[in-house]
């Protein structure tokens, strides 16, 4: 495992409490929103695949939807070529290494219209990342 490929943010290191905070039990937003979880702006998931897999999945996705890619060791930025309702849609994915075999990826909208971002996430991003991230039992039709 190339641990040297990934740098954890110097100012803050990821730890067990970060992982725990991913729990749906802490997410009170369903009390307030009719919207489903998938429509939230920030997408966070964990994966046991190496960072290079995550990055190449995102690059493949970008190619298929004709988005441009800018990447560093732990960040990938996708930007659409067409101007949407609020300018070009851009998305940033940041990869945090908990251990060499356990990563947390955080995907945020960087620019553009939120509705377009949400559609992009549900139509393109989630399907592309499906086989490298886990989904919560609520999203799975089969019981846990």
């Amino acid at each position: 495992m190339n641990q040297s490929e990934l740098k954890v943010k110097q100012s803050e290191t990821l730890n067990a409490f970060h992982i725990i905070s991913l729990s749906e039990g802490f997410d009170l937003s369903p009390l307030f929103e009719e919207k489903k979880r998938e429509e939230k702006e920030e997408l966070r998931f964990a994966t046991t695949k190496p960072a290079s897999s995550v990055i190449s999945k995102l690059e493949d996705l970008a190619k298929s939807v004709k988005f441009s890619v800018r990447k560093s060791e732990s960040r990938v930025r996708l930007e659409g070529s067409e101007r949407g309702r609020k300018g070009k849609l851009s998305i940033e994915a940041e990869i945090f290494a908990m251990t060499p075999s356990f990563l947390v990826v955080e995907v945020k909208k960087d620019g553009g219209d939120t509705l377009e971002y949400n559609q992009f996430c549900s139509k393109e991003l989630r399907p592309a990342l499906k086989d490298i991230c886990w989904t919560s039992p609520a999203e799975n039709p089969t019981p846990a």
């Binding site: 803050e12 290191t13 730890n15 067990a16 409490f17 970060h18 992982i19 725990i20 905070s21 991913l22 729990s23 749906e24 039990g25 802490f26 997410d27 009170l28 937003s29 369903p30 009390l31 307030f32 929103e33 964990a46 046991t48 908990m98 251990t99 075999s101 356990f102 886990w134 989904t135 919560s136 039992p137 609520a138 799975n140 846990a144």
Partner: protein
């Protein structure tokens, strides 16, 4: 048994006046009234008694009243300040107040500590941390080897347990959070600042109109 004549409508136990709650939380009076609309909806979903039961909480969070979750249990227990097994309106607003963006950070830090102190011993023990990590992995259908789990737990403990006594005390937790501010990110719900906008479909009733509703 005689009738009790009261000036106002009969309220469920644990009801507190919006003005009082607004004065003691970051919410305004109209925000508390909006929360009352939400509370009425949540507390009547299964048992219509003006109190939020565990099943109603689970239904609201997971769309499944039977879905059990360690962390949701902890949140429920902490909201249930009086520990009578239900969340009353006053408890609901006061606890949510801690998640408001304007709530004091110290309150959020303390609440998070109590959340993670599973057995309420006043410390977060290594076993509790491991239990929570395992619960999260289980919830997400992910299996990690024992080694990896141990590595994650040990790494965290070494960072947080500065006096090395095998448990995290409130002081250590405070210091740990000050070095890692994102740890209490889940203690802030940004939209609580815009509650009255978040519920455009709710009619904001004044107290007088509520007299029509049975408690």
């Amino acid at each position: 048994m005689g009738c009790v004549y009261s000036k106002k409508v009969r309220r469920s136990p644990g009801y507190e006046e919006p003005a009082l709650l607004a004065s003691e939380t970051p919410f305004t009076v109209s925000e508390v009234e909006a929360l009352y609309e939400l509370f009425k909806k949540l507390s009547s979903s299964i048992i219509n008694d003006g109190l939020i039961h565990k099943e109603e909480f689970q239904l609201a969070l997971f769309k499944n009243s039977n879905r059990r979750n360690l962390f949701a249990d902890r949140v429920f227990d902490l909201f249930d300040v009086k520990r009578n097994g239900v969340i009353e309106f006053g408890e609901f607003v006061r606890s949510l107040g801690i998640f408001h963006p304007n709530a004091p950070i110290a309150d959020k830090v303390a609440f998070a500590f109590k959340l993670y102190d599973l057995r309420q011993t006043g410390y977060i023990e290594r076993e509790e941390l491991k239990e929570m990590v395992l619960a999260l992995l289980n919830e997400s259908d992910l299996t990690l080897s024992e080694d990896v789990v141990e590595t994650i737990v040990n790494k965290t403990f070494n960072e947080a347990d500065s006096n090395g006594d095998g448990r995290i005390d409130p002081e250590e937790w405070k210091e740990f959070v000050s070095r890692n501010p994102s740890l209490i990110k889940n203690m802030t719900l940004p939209y609580l600042k815009d509650i009255t906008i978040a519920f455009p479909s709710f009619v904001l009733n004044s107290e007088v109109e509520d007299a029509d509703m049975a408690a």
